[in-house]
Symmetry: none
Subunit: 421 residues, 2 copies
Amino acid sequence: MNIGILTIGDELTSGRIRDLNSPLIIREAARMGWVVSSILSVGDEISAIQRAINYFPDHCRATIVTGGLGATSDDMTTEAMARTWGRQLIRNEQVLSVLRDHVSARGFRWTEKHARQAQFPEGAEPIPNPVGSAWGFSLTHRDCLFIVLPGVPEEAAVMITDQVLPRLHRIDPSPNNVILSRTFKCFGISENEIEEKIRALIPHDEMTRIGFYPLFPEVHLVLTIRNANQKQANANLRNFETAITDVLQPHLFGRDHETLEGVVGNMLRQKRLGLAVAESCTGGLITDRLTDVAGSSEYLERGVVSYSNASKISLLKVPRHILVDHGAVSESAARYMAEGIRTASGVQLGLSTTGIAGPAGAVPGKPVGTVYIALAHPGGTVCQHFVFPRDRRKVKVAATHTALMMLREYLNTSPPGIGNP
Amino acid sequence: MNIGILTIGDELTSGRIRDLNSPLIIREAARMGWVVSSILSVGDEISAIQRAINYFPDHCRATIVTGGLGATSDDMTTEAMARTWGRQLIRNEQVLSVLRDHVSARGFRWTEKHARQAQFPEGAEPIPNPVGSAWGFSLTHRDCLFIVLPGVPEEAAVMITDQVLPRLHRIDPSPNNVILSRTFKCFGISENEIEEKIRALIPHDEMTRIGFYPLFPEVHLVLTIRNANQKQANANLRNFETAITDVLQPHLFGRDHETLEGVVGNMLRQKRLGLAVAESCTGGLITDRLTDVAGSSEYLERGVVSYSNASKISLLKVPRHILVDHGAVSESAARYMAEGIRTASGVQLGLSTTGIAGPAGAVPGKPVGTVYIALAHPGGTVCQHFVFPRDRRKVKVAATHTALMMLREYLNTSPPGIGNP
């Protein structure tokens, strides 16, 4: 079943307030196997609302409308619906009496404005609001069930769970599809390359959908499987997952809510290895990312942001002649930095970056985006050279991700370590 | 002029990703005095896109479309528009050659998929993308100017400023109104408090609008002034700005595109002062922020992320008994850290943070979110204690902002310094 969402209010189209109702409706619909196909927001203007409600019946079996049910003059959802579809506004005496009690219980004075809230379009079924004063209502037009709710998120949330979902169930009682979804997070590979690699693995049918989402510097691949049979859906997902994991190595680092820093952190913890980081061009972003993970103090011993040559010499024991002869941005400097932080900290792994984040600083042979990344480990030191032709922030982000991927690669292949002090 | 927004992508209708493009378009349109009348989101489905694009021409003079311009099979915005309006897809050779260069510069392999991105509906004008590979295009249908952009926020943002606004200007030069807009960026004060403070200063007329945008951890106040008379508009803005600046001190740190790290960096450069940073709970985020500013190596000498006690002792000379008696999260530790990094680096200013980012680590009297921030300067050391009752990432972000604000406050009041080695 296709569902539409219509949110009404100047505060939404002017960007003053973020819509909190749509995400909730989307989540609940997905749980049930329904698809939200359109989300439309319009301001508090009667012609805009009239145009908007006519958008949905062609392609949606149900439409959830929020907003514009209050007692003030800018609330005109009810009137717009009645006018658009030539229905009279009819006062509901039962609702009126509940509203009177509600207003007096709160110590407010009853006015004719409040009485407006007891009016509904002909044929509508009022829906109680257990939190606030504005009742909702439901109304079927051209085979589309419209369910209209107040915009206040605390009120809408309760009504979505208690009133909307049961009504949707009544018109689609057995959404006989299980929906499973899995996100695959990759780095260092483009959308195109991913698609080429997995093309042969994914059946081109209605039940399987894939989507690509570039979230710099990562690319996410989302696989969605629908099936009437739970067991079959699970088996399909497992099969695709195995196949995808295989072809996307070594770029695939995580699934669903996993992060690269979380994955690397878990490996460090499991292998009982300690890490120290010496950053130049990444400016602290590597340790910032690592310390976003709760419990990272178990494996992150220290970080150093050696922005000046003096700090590279005093904190990391990089020989002055290396900086003079090869430059601070060089393979030798990166190696000395990684080894220096490893030695100073006494842990097993030292990770370093040095590069030119730009926009200034390029020299012949070393354009903006040049980065050397080194990892000193118990068996030696590896160093790689990259050029990220990006702006300053993106050079930092790409270099940070690359450094963490190098660390992950090492942890994937290294033998189990020994206890970290 | 009425403007429509259409965002395309399963990631939006499935709720996986928050739409960052619409808020930007809304804000820029408001600055110019244009009204966003409808915002519609649909998934990556050709019939949904076809239905959606036909929604706008009746009531919008222009429609900004984002998403579905990539090279993968789920990107079908261009095809949907061509099909809906019976226009042929025509390959643009110039764009094709730019795409080839772009792909090879990034070291990716050219495929036929990439060539799809050089196809545009008949009559469309391609719009360059200075950040990514997907070009946009503009196309007029039934008197509505459609401007189609990639969905990636970093790409869309640049194109909105550089390409969309000038095109909208051409169709609505709004000759009768000068529109001036100023963003005031505040930290450490709520929207409500800002509103109370400025309420008396802002005239309640049609020509002056204010909007509040909480962007954690900052709150932005946007003032928009319309006036038929340029001189009058400028004078009004100047008056409001003076009044607002006065009442919002000390929370107001910047305007328009200024950032806190940029403001602090400028002050350090002007005063010729050097800075070194010792971070515990902020984990490198302070130096990450500082080094986002080009040229920050002029004043940032080094940073240390002293996550372990051993690193606090060896790198910052924090006495062991302080860590044992007072704990690593204490005023004494913060003061020693700031003084230690100042001494070790030889620069004038040492900034430090130590705290409990959580979720674990709370002790009696020191709940999660407890943070001590110290600044060691030529005249002594100041230390402040805070509790940020937030999740781990937000504790780090709030502590970083607070530390930079403390530094700004010091630089605002300190005498001019002397040259930094």
